[in-house]
Assembly symmetry: C2
Homo-oligomer: 422 residues x 2
């Protein structure tokens, strides 16, 4: 093992031990105490704003010196508005119901045993994320409200910001009687520290990656702790032959254009062959007018020859940009087959007025979120009404779709009897 | 990569591709069809009994030639009674509710979107198990009823039995219109094939190990597919100062003696210091009379000097045998600390008439099943009323405790609108 990996591992395991020791304390906190801590964390973010802005300026200066510009630099920035966003996020968590202690179900057995399944925190949640420093406050707040200890591993480029934000959050915890070890920041930002967190067996109950494809693949290859895959969104919208034309255009334009950089944006538009004549050219004009770069299959290009041809690779690409691949399909079966072959299991939509088509689509598409007559852009913890989210799961185990407070819990069975034996 | 591993990987991936192709078919089966298949599978087990017994005899002969005797040989045996057990197990599944399609919850958003969270199969479930051939039928039945395709990897010592049983089950499937590829048996029983299944990324949605500590550790170290830890049971029973003495003895004897080889049996008895005089010696006599070998801490041995001394290792040992470690504790805090340090998160019990002690114990013990005044032996899918189980999870992600049909499902969100955009 390299010296760097050894050092990273020692650092992460020291935090892991501190985190593990705080687990029973966090699990036993009342909702009142957790809400008081969230309020105090928000207060401290405001009280320590100067230190946070100064730390952020160090990160911004370093990034600029490294030639970072544009959207990347903007993601790194913590200004008044973003600080207030973190504060508002923590206050929003206060208003949300505490999942811990909730009785999922319960029943009495024939022998008189009473069984209840009760929600409990997962324990220690590890989060690996990239440049945006506001994730530090958002993730710490979600973990605290759900009674979990967190170990945060942010990106190297945001380390000063993350340290300043974590210091404020921990001060808030302590002010409310919650141990500072509820929130732990990995300050070693080498690649080795991410690996060490992925392999901190026995110290991490759930690892959540918030980053690109490379991070997720790295995690699948190397993790020895339980994790949730927050994967790519190659999302489709299928305009069925019985679609309302105006609705189809509104949904398609929204799914692509309202926020193309996010995972729930549409990447491929599937248009029923019945809609090619009389409808498709107008839709393509509208998308182009909205600034979308179009790439089409042969039949799409037959009505819009100026379009670039889509390659096989296009059908599997998450552009995260104002680019859209378009394909003409021969009815529902063809659309379902395309989605099965190329979808990433995130969000898929059909626009149709036909009940049987809608029913088949929702039954047969295998994805976290399946839409009828709505934009895929709604796959989001806030839009689902969860109040907040820590990511979107594209795996099937434990949780699928937006990860809210409930998804950050496990259960235990409590069984009460009066002397039953077997 | 060794030639053996390459061959194992090719074999497993060929099965994986067949399994993956069957996933949408299995997911779309009606409950009626699945129940018809379960009945036909049971019928075929009986129709092919001679072939199954003959295949089993080959396994038994090979095992005896390898010097296998006693309990190990017995576990391998398929006789009339065990065959009938498999048949009864499949019939019991017919009577259980189908989890697929169940609506977990649903709500309407302020913008009019209707969101439902609906149960769907996981997809492909991999199961690695050891000598008992009846697991083949039990696991295949549970997977089929929950709409999942299974890939079974049984032990080398049972390969002939498993092949004969699988052939019967697949014939039953086909008779009911279910593809044979619903049930897939790995016939390469080298260690490499288990590794290949653990690393069949993209082909297995959930891997469940049914075996000892070595298998679980191997899986944690090597798996690249999602899995559930079916771990050890170092289960405690704490006799609190306010315990009813007769109930305490009944529960302690049952938890240790009724089936010591299983994971929900008690391994360590914690006795409150208040119960040492006047109660503990009689309890130890009773346990000894039941054939239990006792190992005690100093304070236990003070009242039973003939006992062996428990070592530090004893407190962490799952004996799976008629052996029990006994420790005197100073009240509830001491008992909770011992369980936190040495429990495996499986099943823990308190015997007490004191409501506050019971409440603290159930709140603070971190385990899949926490009992008040009942034997830990009830941690079992059948005893919980699930009808059947495929294992017992000791992890916190996805499922904890007995794994029944519901635990073999995931969810998807179905969102219906009338043109909503964001």
């Amino acid at each position: 093992m390299s010296d760097s990996l050894t050092a990273a591992r020692e650092h992460v395991l020291a935090l892991g031990r501190a985190a593990r020791a705080a687990v029973p304390v966090l699990a036993a906190l009342t909702t009142e105490t957790k809400n008081a801590a969230l309020a105090a964390m928000a207060d401290e973010l405001l009280a320590q704003r100067d230190a946070i802005f100064a730390a952020n300026q160090l990160d911004l200066d370093a990034a600029e010196a490294n030639g970072v510009t544009g959207a990347m630099l903007n993601r790194l920035k913590v200004d008044e508005k973003r600080l207030q966003g973190m504060v508002d996020g923590l206050h929003a968590l206060i208003a949300l119901p505490d999942p811990v202690g909730g009785v999922v179900d319960g029943w009495r057995r024939p022998n008189g045993l009473d069984i209840r399944r009760v929600r409990v925190p997962l324990g220690v949640i590890g989060i690996i994320y990239e440049s945006r420093p506001n994730v530090t406050a958002d993730a710490a707040g979600l973990c605290l409200k759900s009674g979990n200890v967190c170990i945060l591993r942010g990106g190297r480029e945001a380390i000063n910001s993350n340290q300043a934000i974590t210091a404020a959050l921990r001060t808030g915890c302590v002010a409310a009687g919650v141990p500072a070890e509820a929130i732990n920041l990995i300050t070693n930002t080498t690649r080795d520290s991410a690996l060490a967190l992925m392999q901190a067996e026995g110290f991490v109950d759930c690892l959540i990656p918030r980053g690109g494809h490379g991070l997720v693949q790295n995690m699948i290859a190397n993790a020895k702790v339980p994790y949730i895959v927050d994967g790519a969104g190659v999302c489709h919208t299928y305009l069925h032959s019985a679609a309302d034309p105006a609705m189809a255009t509104r949904i398609a334009v929204n799914a692509k254009c309202s926020y193309p950089a996010v995972c729930n944006a549409m990447e491929t538009l599937l248009v029923d062959a019945a809609l090619v004549d009389g409808y498709l050219p107008g839709l393509l004009d509208e998308l182009r007018a909205s600034g979308v770069e179009l790439r089409g299959d042969e039949r799409t290009r037959a009505v819009a020859p100026e379009m670039a041809a889509a390659t096989e690779e296009d059908w599997d690409t998450e552009y995260n940009d104002m680019v859209l691949s378009v394909r003409v399909v021969d009815g529902l079966d063809d659309a379902l087959a395309h989605i099965a072959a190329h979808g990433s299991g995130h969000s898929e939509a059909i626009v149709t007025g036909d009940q049987r088509a809608a029913r088949r689509f929702t039954h047969e598409v295998d994805a976290a979120a399946v839409y009828v007559n709505a934009s895929t852009r709604f796959t989001d913890g806030g839009e689902f009404g969860f109040g907040a989210e820590i990511g979107i799961s594209t795996q099937k185990l434990h949780a699928r779709g937006p990860l809210g407070l409930v998804e950050l819990t496990s259960v235990k069975y409590i069984i009460e009897g009066d002397g039953q034996v077997r």
